[in-house]
Amino acid sequence: MTELIDRADAAAETPALELSMQQAINRALRVLLAEDPDVLVFGEDVGALGGVFRVTDGLQKEFGDRRVFDTPLAESAIMGMAVGLAMNGWRPVPELQFDGFAYPAIDQIVNQVARMNYRTRGSAPMPITLRLPSFGGIQAPEHHGESLEAIFAHTPGLKVVAPSDPAEAYSLLLQSVRSDDPVVYMEPKARYWDRRPVRLAEPTDPIGTSRIVRPGRHATLIAWGAMVHKCLQVAELAAEDGVELEVLDLRWLKPIDAAGLAASVARTKRAVVVHEAPLTAGLGAEVAALITEHCFRDLAAPVQRVTGFDVPYPAGPLEPQYLPTIDRVLFAVQRTLEY
């Protein structure tokens, strides 16, 4: 650990690095593989190829094919193997190549990964971090864009996190893998190529905390993953109209930061939650319920939800019609302002 802390200190002192989210996640994996010999990275194409999104690029070369390795194209087996490895003292970091391919592994994730610690009364914890390229925005074919956060957040025993920028991706992955609980780490594919100056830093905020990425006083926009960037764009445009929007990056989708939500909305009195998943029984409903429970008397308008539609995630060219747009978010903000 000493060496790591030294490295983090050095990062804080040196000028920020230009990194994409892919590269930031890659660096976090390198730190994790270097600091803990029990960490294993595996999945489809993560070894020789370096991942279809280049996230695991170079890791097999650096750490060898016993620590970073390719698996058969069998998602249930990937997660089942993670369970067995975890029971034998390893710290697995499996990747399921695309969110839609998590469905064949749901049995292992829900029935084994999430429950093993509970079932064994704590004698078999599952320190597994499932890396899951998630959400839409790259106009991919069917099964290559899904928003599964509500399914995972609804499953007792799992923690769920979705980073929104490269620096967050780095520190949240360190935190997820070092946690002894299973974490579903949802990587927003649409932000993989987001390059910006990044100061790589050790995680400082506890698991389950949100963060304010832009302060404002008229309404709070709540989002995670790629929708945080969308909400920042909306806030920039709203400012031209004299409306100051606060943007809250929820980031941890289980546990949810109810206190953080309440603190923001108690100030702004209005809330709009934005997600890519369909509306019905989406995580926005949970967020709206928490805000209503904690801030009922403060609210100037009902909590608005801007989401995908109650249809299967559309493939390729229809995606822009499905994902929340800037105008749909602005409309929802206006509804809260006029209520």
Partner: protein
Amino acid sequence: MAEENVTFTLPDLGEGLVEATVLEWQVSVGDVIERNAPLVEVETTKSAVVIPSPKAGRIVALHAEEDRVVPVGDPLVTFAVTIGDDAPQAGIVGKVPTEEARPARRVRLKPPTD
């Protein structure tokens, strides 16, 4: 920018097929092709499929005439591709999202009076 020749071999088109017959080339030598654009139609024992181009580049050579049987792993086509390009590449599927300098909007807001 510099160019490099890259040869694409016939991939296993699924379930352990060992060969395919070239039905029709959708490109000619000298054509500049986009990634994922139709490259060649081939027929296996299961079906006829159009293989999309794995690369963007200029076609340098087609290694099999139409109606020829090509074993999996044999050269199919050679591209001249530009190298040293730092533009982000998408993965095997999908597109890198493009960022508008100033996002378009239609809805205007009225600030609250409170």
